[in-house]
Symmetry: C2
Subunit: 144 residues, 2 copies
Amino acid sequence: MGEPLGSDEAQVLDANEAFYDAFADGDLDALDALWAERASVACIHPGWDALYGREEVMASWRAILSGERAPEVVCLDPTVHLYGDTAVVICGEAIDEHFLIATNVFVREDGEWRLCHHQAGPVSGQRPEGRLRRRGQRKAGMLN
Amino acid sequence: MGEPLGSDEAQVLDANEAFYDAFADGDLDALDALWAERASVACIHPGWDALYGREEVMASWRAILSGERAPEVVCLDPTVHLYGDTAVVICGEAIDEHFLIATNVFVREDGEWRLCHHQAGPVSGQRPEGRLRRRGQRKAGMLN
């Protein structure tokens, strides 16, 4: 994530982008560094029951990313909702051929925004028109 | 919700229970009073895209609760995750014959915990065994 610069919103968006970069790259070390160390941690993968605690959550990411290939994932149209030292990012997720909607909750720990909760669930129908492509063109081909 | 008493966790659980009571009772006024007035508000109903802003969110609840009958809803096994003046409740939802998992984000506004974000999504398979029934027996029949 580099040094935190700019507004809280920009820093949270950077942390959210780093999460999807780590997910897309299958980079478990980067993903691990993004989750909170002291704050309560939880995660709800699509269709799964809730997972509680850092150990269980990271084990789930290891399982997801240990497949033959990591899923293709693109974060779409993130919005930041700031509540002091906590922030919620809501964004679309294009994962392989699926379109999901996600809530990512961040807390400020030692000056860095870190994930404390993630929930993603399916959206009925097709990817809404007009979704912005905030993660550049690297994997944009899958969206067309 | 009455006067806030007890620990933050207990107050947040009370607010979460009040949310599901209002939902189960189809009580739009109670629901309206539970959502934050100043904090940024968003909501993701199961299968829907995200809704932003108090007006759009409350319109969605009016639509959901204006049907021939309000859905039967029971909150299951809520856990509270406190981050200062923000809190996340993760809980199961038994809605009619569906089992969902939800994230409810609360902020403290004027000393009251109020909802600023809700996401609910489907869980694959059956209701997990051992789920606690925290909302009493009034609608417990639907769970058997």
